[in-house]
Symmetry: C2
Subunit: 129 residues, 2 copies
Amino acid sequence: MSYANDMPTVEAVSRTDAGLAAELRTSVMRLRRRLSVERHPDNQLSIGSMVVPGLLHRNDAQTVGELARAEKVQPPSMTRTVTSPEDGGFVTRRPHETDGRRVVVEITDWGARRCWPTASAGTRGSPCS
Amino acid sequence: MSYANDMPTVEAVSRTDAGLAAELRTSVMRLRRRLSVERHPDNQLSIGSMVVPGLLHRNDAQTVGELARAEKVQPPSMTRTVTSPEDGGFVTRRPHETDGRRVVVEITDWGARRCWPTASAGTRGSPCS
DNA sequence: CGGAATAGTTAGCACGACTAATGAGTTACG
DNA sequence: CGTAACTCATTAGTCGTGCTAACTATTCCG
């Protein structure tokens, strides 16, 4: 009873469009489940919330709309996604300098240290690892 | 304003463990969101429910526990996941021949035709594509 | 000034996952 | 045998993540 016998390969079962689509769906869903669980025990941020510091690491000080477009979600989704790292003190909301409609999200010093520690310090326990 | 300028690469930003983990999370979550939306309009099964006919296509007549282990989810999750394709007539539940605790899930003829049409017929509108 | 457009939020829903607890059936052992 | 321990599936309740619809506040423009 080998792994190969238990686990039909794509060649064996899924040469149709529907079969390949099913393989892809199953694989991606499993990977996402795994990623949402495989995080450091100290980590208080969920997989969705961890995305926000990641986006701000690339470009700090982005509006909610920019974050939503970057992550390809609707604005209300990003509004809620930002709430948890904000409550945790990782990021802050502040009004835009010139446009009163916009809200700028920035990473805090503390959040940056927690999420992106220096290489020498390692990333053990980082909320983003 | 090119794609390359807007989209920092892994090389540019994410050489740390935390950075690579963030890249992976973001990519997988986006792909899953996309897959859950990208299905044929005729398709009445959600992404989670589509997994069940796929598993039964490999091995028909599996118990709820076997499906849960194959998909690496907890049994209660699979119990609920099976409900929707069962209500849609794609699969059936029946008691196990010898073990009264077990429940066997099988794909119906109709479900098999709908999910895995012959190659010549194509898979347009298949609940599994 | 006043209407249209834009940005963000709130509220409510769907879906997929989990844990804890329950019921029903099987197995093992004294 | 008969009961205690175990296994399997389900129910109930919760959380996280996405959506749409509707609302508020602000800005833009004619």
